[in-house]
Symmetry: C2
Subunit: 415 residues, 2 copies
């Protein structure tokens, strides 16, 4: 049995225990983890300092170092998150539906955990706690494979998590970390169908594509958001202006930030100069079609590739459209199906947009920045799914469950 198979076997055994625990037992375990994180804070911060030192020596960018950094406040944030997840309703063993079939069998569909969830992520050490907590609350065991830049931090965090679990009814093997960062082991992990029920990659497009290509375990694709705002000719000027600025400026590096702006030709003449001036003031580079460049002299010509790109940066691709149909066709062509929005006062146009756009989150008169599990009221999220199978949009606890059919009879056989 290889190292990875052994992790898988232990996770599966742990999952069989966690699956049957009461909500109280799982919540007690989350609280025990919270206490252990605070108790082992010094060790965690010291381990993080070693990762940061390695990172600086290996020339990590400032942005990456920033993501990697832990502080007392960030550890407190993890602890708060654990308590928030403990306070959520338990999603397990709820009966979704129940009926009696023509043979007189009573059939019920009950929520059950997925089993063993694999999380493959980059250098944010807070994912180690957040993802584990969501998985445990939904009755699952978890195997974590974090970025090698955060290995020391993750080891220290998982040591604290396991110390907490040791004081609870949840086996400490319910949360395990792959401590050998080799690619061969990562590939073996992604093909461990015997033990792993589902993989969730969290990170950039490169990581996600690599997992999709290599995995034979079912994957939930998350994250890439080439999000659109369509300002309809009947838009409220101020709403459109605020939603554009919020979508582009409030946090440009995240997947629900705006990357594309479409404006109806009629509305563009007054709206575009004023709106782009505010964006340019904030340091945003404007890419646009010829009509945009005419109205906004600072804009440069956009290519199809620009319209297809998730910039995650102070840059936006703008297009002036002749009508609703052109806007919808553009979104259909370039959207990654994450979050797309319209601003309009026209009821019928709004209703059409909600039906016509085939994205996980479709907005009328609100910022795409709201696509978030916590904002939606799920109490946290494991990521935002951009695939249609299993879970779509922000994934809360329910996305970490499956169901089973329970069939109760009185000796029935099939004719």
């Amino acid at each position: 049995m290889t190292y990875i198979e052994d992790l898988g076997r232990q996770a599966k055994a742990a999952a069989r225990v966690v699956r049957l625990l009461s909500a109280q037992a799982k919540n007690d375990a989350l609280e025990a983890i919270a206490v252990a994180l605070l108790e082992q804070q010094t060790e965690i911060l010291a381990a993080n300092e070693r990762d940061l030192e390695n990172g600086r020596q290996n020339g990590l960018t400032t942005a990456l170092l920033e993501r990697l950094t832990l502080t007392e406040a960030r550890i407190q944030g993890m602890v708060d998150g654990l308590r928030q997840i403990a306070a959520l309703p338990d999603p397990i063993l709820k009966t979704d539906s129940q009926w009696v079939n023509k043979d007189g069998l009573r059939i019920s569909r009950r929520r059950v955990p997925l089993g063993v969830v694999g999380i493959i992520y980059e250098s944010r050490p807070n994912v180690t706690v957040d993802a584990s907590a969501l998985c445990l609350k939904a009755g699952n065991a978890v195997i974590l494979r974090g970025g090698k830049e955060a290995l020391e931090s993750n080891q220290a965090i998982v040591a604290a998590v396991q110390a907490g679990l040791a004081k609870s009814k949840v086996p400490s093997t319910a949360v395990q970390l792959i401590t050998d960062p080799s690619r061969e082991l990562a590939t073996e992990f992604m093909q461990l169908n015997q033990y792993v029920d589902c993989l969730v990659p969290r990170g950039g497009a490169g990581l996600i594509q690599a997992v999709l290509r290599q995995a034979t375990v079912p994957v939930i694709e998350t994250g890439v958001g080439n999000c659109h705002l369509y300002v309809h000719t009947e838009a409220d000027f101020e709403q459109a202006y605020n939603i554009l600025l919020n979508g582009k400026l409030q946090r440009p590096s995240v997947c629900n930030a705006l990357e594309n702006l479409l404006v109806d030709a009629e509305f563009a003449e007054k709206f575009l100069p004023e709106a782009t001036a505010a964006l340019i003031d904030a340091g945003v580079e404007i890419l646009g079609d010829e009509k945009v460049v005419e109205l906004v002299p600072q804009a440069t010509l956009a290519t199809d590739e620009d319209y297809a790109t998730e910039f995650l940066d102070y840059r936006i691709a703008v297009k002036i459209v002749d009508n609703y149909e052109e806007a919808v066709a553009h979104i259909e062509r370039f959207s990654t199906g994450h979050s797309d929005a319209i601003v309009t006062k026209d009821y019928s146009t709004a209703q059409h947009f909600l039906n016509d756009i085939d994205s996980a989150c479709v907005y009328v008169n609100a910022s795409t920045r709201f696509s978030d599990g916590e904002v939606f009221g799920f109490g946290g999220e494991l990521g935002i799914s951009t695939q249609k199978l299993h879970a779509r949009g922000p994934m809360g606890l329910e996305a970490l469950t499956s169901y089973k059919y329970v069939i109760e009879g009185d000796g029935q056989v099939r004719a």
Copy 2:
């Protein structure tokens, strides 16, 4: 653009139309297909005769030839199936849930189609119609890749389907068949993530494993059923006897047939000789552990591999267990998570079994042969999922849908 890419592009375009059609328009299309199948019956039967002739020349087994054979009655069966599916409630645009979040956004979760569904199957030509009808009813387009033994039959059937669709609001490209049976094209199809939202393999374990290994498109794993019956010491003798015989004998070649029998030691002495005698009379080979061989002289010793095998044949692996825990541990080790049953009169044991066994369908006092979409009341099925992601157990129309979030605001931006 390759042949496969072109099919994908056309399917995606068709899916955008089908997605927005009313229930009536989709039902009219299913009726148009039914009429076209009857009109083109002569051509379909002639094409099937060519497949059968090829099959006989290539030495196909009697069982395979039987599966491949179409008759007027079987075509009528397809037509009946189409009308049954048309009569089902439309699963699309139903709102699963709706709430207002803390920002005052109205968030609704609406059922939407998956988009483009790929079906990869073996030589049963009725799947061509059944799978297409379920996909269309749920608002999807479908690309079919059937076995090469049935290629002429499938071409004739799809010609009829497309002729029917041409008289409806559904584009005829909503149902397409891959007519080149090469493996390279099959692989390209399984990796067509740009256009295909989900793959469903239908067939034997070899086909399913090949798809899981090669696909990058999300797959719903179906089918392999190593199903168990556990006869508890408090079982009703007659119920246990009938459920065992029904599970093993009624249709041994299907995935919900019984493959394993576990009997509590106390109960085995009276039950096993009588029950196995009936099975042996019906031509079933008994494999068992040493205690079984003592009680049933005709039995031969079973290996672990026998306990792990889905025989799909007149053969059963039997084990005498000391108690409930041993039975559950055996099922956990060998079950493929399809359908497992207990026979007991004890209420508490029944309830424990329903929680402890982690399979798609868990039965008390009824035959595993009931694991079937039509029997469950879904009006048909695309297969029985043995994975936990997306859909589990018999997959009806709902398994062919996804959801999206619709968020309605009044100018809200994120703080």
